[in-house]
């Protein structure tokens, strides 16, 4: 929960809500970029950031992103973060099913 995981911003999805799509270890996930925005959001595309519980909290360079990811894999935290993202998706998907019935 506290360590965060590096992701690369690939697309701005909702500028009013400061939301962007990030690619985290091959998985796409919408994240909030308010904390790293310091100009037009388009400028964030291609940038790497440390993502904590769905919020991009700090810009990092690509080498730092790679080193951090490796350290997180060692700790088993990278897998855990990805599983938690999937869990979050399931919480929403589960709901959709329920409301359909």
């Amino acid at each position: 929960m506290c360590l965060g995981i590096p992701g690369q911003i690939v697309e701005i999805t909702n500028p009013e809500a400061m939301m962007a799509m990030a690619e985290v270890s091959g998985v796409r996930r919408e994240v909030n970029v308010a904390c790293i925005a310091d100009g037009p959001l388009q400028g964030l595309i291609g940038e790497w950031a440390l993502i904590h519980v769905g919020f991009a909290m700090s810009r990092i360079d690509e080498a730092e992103a790679a080193a951090t990811l490796e350290a997180l894999r060692d700790l088993g935290e990278a897998q855990e973060a990805l599983e938690q993202m999937a869990e979050g998706d399931r919480a929403l998907v589960g709901l959709r099913k329920e409301t359909q019935v």
């Binding site: 506290c2 909030n32 904590h52 769905g54 909290m57 409301t99």
Partner: protein
């Protein structure tokens, strides 16, 4: 030196370990009279065990595992209150997975879910917001948990909910802050701490100045550190060097992520949404003044405590005593090793945790347990 082979840069690790040894010798640290360095953050505790750093460094350096694991310091009463909220029929209770197994006096959230409460694990408060949008006839409550690292995420989510005029989203706020418990530990006459490894990601939000009192008022060095093993070794060396040179300063080993003054957007969101509680209860440490945050009056509509009349907003006193015979408090303050707890590995394991330190990989007991086996084999 078995563990060093796992380092990405074994050469750098070796020379750092050598420099640590020289400096430790210089200040006369021995196995009998070690230098005590507290790593505040549970992420650091995990990394220290994962790499066996406590065994690799000079025998005169002893790590004391600090209170920086938000799951571990969550008191039973708060878990009970989560369950109280989650059991309301209109509520969808959302939480980080880490909190699911923390024992309360009526069991854990996991057990409450098994009894039928609608409790869902989410990755982010943004997931909870989305659940609320898709579910207008239910009350979605997010269990806001964590230190300054995660506090901005719930602050920004509450601001977003306010902008959208949502009426079915609220946060059960359990955010806590790092500096206050450190002051309590430093004031404890039984505590013998010589220096600190400061939390990297908390500092990314708050910067390095909130630790100034550690150096200025208590004369102890603190080095804000990253999470890679070389970061930690370098930080240990920086702490020892300060001691050797008779300095006590706040140094920043993790400047590539931690700006001196923190993250302005995060700090503004926190200040807008939260204010300090007069005091907040910590598992193992008791009530600590001004160590917890609550939601400001202007965002009252998003405060689950207000909405459901639980916790600090409830009329009746809410203290739940910790069960007897557990050493969690002593372990958390570094007075005892996990293995000295009578329950360690007997009643208390990661599968059936009695204390919160066994729940998360950031807790000292779980870290001891998880890496103890591998270590025994290596020794």
């Amino acid at each position: 030196m078995k563990y060093a082979t796992e380092f990405r840069d074994p050469k750098a690790a070796k020379s750092l370990l050598a420099a640590i040894a020289t400096t430790a010798d210089r200040i006369g640290a021995t196995r009998e009279k070690p230098v005590h360095i507290m790593e505040i953050c549970g992420g650091h505790t995990h990394a220290i065990f994962r790499y066996g750093l406590d065994k690799l460094v000079h025998e005169g350096v002893e790590f004391i595992h600090g209170p920086g694991c938000p799951v571990c310091v969550l008191p039973m009463a708060r878990v009970d209150e989560c369950i109280e909220i989650a059991e309301r029929p209109e509520v969808i209770f959302t939480t980080f997975g880490d909190a699911m197994r923390v024992p309360g006096s009526r069991g854990s959230l996991m057990q409450a879910k098994a009894r039928g409460a609608d409790i869902r694990m989410v990755y982010s408060p943004l997931d909870a917001l989305e659940l609320a949008r898709r579910n207008p006839d239910r009350q979605v409550v997010f269990f806001g948990l964590g230190f300054e690292t995660t506090t901005p995420s719930t602050a920004l989510s509450i601001q977003q909910a306010a902008r959208e005029g949502m009426t079915n989203f609220s946060v059960f706020c359990n955010h806590i802050t790092v500096p206050e418990p450190i002051r309590v530990l430093l004031d404890d006459p039984h505590m013998m701490l010589d220096g600190f490894i400061g939390p990297g990601h908390v500092s990314m939000v708050i910067g390095t100045h909130p630790y100034d009192f550690i150096a200025q008022d208590y004369g102890k060095p603190i080095v804000v550190a990253g999470f890679e093993p070389l970061d930690l070794l370098q930080s240990v060396l920086m702490v020892l060097t300060q001691i050797a040179e008779g300095r006590a300063e706040v140094e920043n080993q993790y400047a590539r992520v931690v700006p001196e003054h923190g993250n302005p957007v995060s700090l503004a969101a926190i200040a807008d949404v939260y204010e300090r509680r007069p005091s907040f209860e910590w598992r193992g440490l008791g009530e600590i003044d001004a160590s917890g945050l609550r939601i400001r009056n202007k965002y009252k509509a998003f405060d689950a405590e207000e909405k459901f009349g639980v916790g600090y907003a409830a009329a009746r006193p809410r203290h739940v005593p910790e069960p007897e015979g557990l050493a969690c408090g002593a372990v958390m303050t570094g007075r005892m090793k996990p293995t000295q707890c009578p329950q360690f590995g007997r009643g208390c394991t990661p599968e059936t945790p009695l204390g919160a330190l066994m729940v998360s990989s950031e807790g000292a007991c779980a870290a001891y347990w998880q890496y103890g086996g591998a270590r025994a084999a290596a020794e």
